[in-house]
């Protein structure tokens, strides 16, 4: 199975949806996340939400879902773009319970809010904290990022 096959299926089911195909992933609009993932789970056997995470691209954030299908032996990378002024996306924990803690972790480290999550609290850092350490603009007096490596010299 390939990304493109999944893309065709999604296109057939949601003809109006703007799905973008990158070399390793499918990018869907965030408003359609719940619809598409319900479809993927019920009709394409992507029942296992293996991993949820995010990538800070500085001007936007990507929420990345790794969905696995035991039937087809295929790991699908599904991405949703969120803008910095509206860091919120629908929670998929109603479809797969494993997303519960993974979304809490993403919320903790990136500050992305998952709408309709049953228990959206920080999972690792203290509740009273306001920082999100995995953001690229994370700054603290006691955190000094190392300069980018220039590789081996000489």
């Amino acid at each position: 199975m390939q990304n493109s096959e999944v893309l065709i299926q999604i296109k057939n089911r949601f003809p109006d949806l703007a799905v973008e195909e990158t070399p390793n992933a499918l990018v869907i609009p965030k408003t359609a996340l719940l619809e598409v993932s319900t479809f993927l789970k019920s009709e394409m056997a992507f029942e296992n939400c293996h991993c949820v995470t995010a990538v800070d691209r500085k001007d936007k954030m990507e929420v990345v879902y790794h969905l696995y299908s035991f039937l087809n032996h295929f790991m699908l990378t599904l991405k949703v773009i969120v803008t910095l002024d509206d860091l919120a996306v629908e929670s998929v924990s109603c479809l797969c319970r494993s997303a519960d803690w993974l979304e809490r972790e993403t919320f903790d480290l990136f500050g992305i809010r998952f709408v309709n999550h049953p228990d959206l609290r920080r999972i690792m850092n203290p509740d009273a904290w306001s920082d999100h350490p995995l953001r690229k603009d994370f700054k603290r007096a006691d955190f000094i990022p190392r300069p980018q490596s220039q590789g081996l010299k000489g």
């Binding site: 390793n24 296992n48 293996h50 790794h66 319970r97 803690w101 995995l134 980018q148 490596s149 590789g151």
Partner: protein
């Protein structure tokens, strides 16, 4: 219902396997709710990864699941190799398989020993398991000079060849461990007290396990015959003949038994691999400095489940983002559901059978 009592179990508690804090609400001795609080070992390893080169990050992966450091090294190196399309020599692949399986045996031994300890079999099984593990640890010491955090795997191979005579030591160990496995069966597996404490406690159904993305021995104990080494083979696992042990009910005893059976299967893999190590250089001739762009997701079968590395690379020598999908994290998520309605002593049994390592949960 009587008066409810909130009990804090941990963060410092002998049966929470590290710094895990469970907030238990009890009705008498029955657990009404259980809230795990994590983060006591949070070092933000994913942030560290963004500030190190690929090679520099390998020692940090040792500190994730510190009972299976070799397997973590391997997972990360495979992810980088997949990202940058680096080929590995056949000798290195065989060495990696042998080392990873030996570490799996060591890790399962600790799991079995500490599980028996949690059930009240004070000290004896733990010492049995640790003295077996000691043989593996000493072997690793002679291979890479370290006993817990090995830093042995390298991108493109391993750090050095195994010293002369290692193959004999491993062959002797296999013979010894097979005898020991029979002893464990007599000592624990079919022991009446052990069965009474662990049978039908904390049953995890197949549906629950898949819904919670449980992986590894815990998933197999629930009756799902799934092993990444078998279904999506990496390295040279497809060349070896081994079985995937599965449980029937999915209770604590099944989780224990699956681990015990997996030791035997790991020994089988090592036995086949040790006789077939090809000659050659275990260190591939690749650049010492790595850079590339793209993204990749690589998962490997760790002793506790599937360890996944999601690497995103932009221009530069460091990964732009390195997400570590740790098996214990997902496996612990189901704890709350498993212990509801159990005695508090059985909750300890369930937690012991999950075989978690806090180092990779908090990261």
């Amino acid at each position: 219902m009587g008066e409810l009592l909130t009990v804090n179990m941990g963060p410092q508690h002998p049966s929470t396997h590290g710094v895990l804090y469970l907030e238990l609400v009890l009705d008498g001795e029955i657990v009404v709710s259980c809230k795990p609080h994590l983060g006591y070992l949070h070092r933000s390893i994913e942030k560290i990864a963004e500030n190190r080169t690929y090679t520099q990050f390998i020692p940090f992966t040792d500190r994730l699941d510190y009972l299976a450091s070799m397997n973590n090294n391997l997972g990360f190196c495979l992810a980088v190799e997949k990202l940058l399309n680096i080929a590995v020599t056949p000798r290195a692949q065989y060495l990696r398989v042998i080392i990873a399986e030996l570490n799996r045996v060591a890790s399962h031994l600790v799991a079995i020993g500490t599980f028996a300890q949690d059930l009240g079999a004070y000290a004896t099984p733990l010492f049995y398991a640790f003295s077996d593990r000691e043989k593996i640890v000493e072997l690793f010491d002679s291979i890479c000079g370290s006993r817990l955090t090995y830093n042995y795997m390298r991108i493109g191979g391993v750090s050095g060849d195994i010293p002369a005579g290692t193959e004999e030591i491993i062959k002797d160990f296999i013979k010894y461990e097979r005898k020991q496995l029979m002893e464990y069966n007599e000592l624990l597996t079919y022991n009446v007290i052990f069965l009474a404490r662990s049978k039908n406690i904390g049953i995890l159904t197949k549906e629950q396990a898949l819904n919670y993305s449980i992986t590894g021995p815990m998933l197999r104990a629930s009756g799902v015959k799934w092993d990444t080494r078998k279904e999506e083979p990496y390295l040279v696992y497809d060349k070896f003949d081994f079985d995937v042990p599965v449980g029937i009910v999915g209770d604590s005893w099944d989780r224990f038994k699956v681990k015990l059976d997996e030791i035997e299967q790991s020994l089988r893999i090592i036995e086949q691999a040790i006789g077939a190590i090809p000659e050659g250089n275990p260190v591939s001739k690749v650049n010492r400095v790595f850079r590339g762009t793209g993204e990749t997701y690589m998962r490997t079968e760790n002793p506790r489940g599937e360890l996944g590395f999601y690497l995103v690379a932009e221009a530069g020598f460091n990964p732009y983002r390195c997400k570590i999908r740790s098996p214990s994290f997902s496996n612990l998520g189901v704890l709350e559901e498993l212990v509801k309605g159990l005695n508090i002593s059985d909750a300890v049994c369930v937690l012991g059978s999950l075989d978690i390592v806090m180092g990779e949960i908090d990261r």
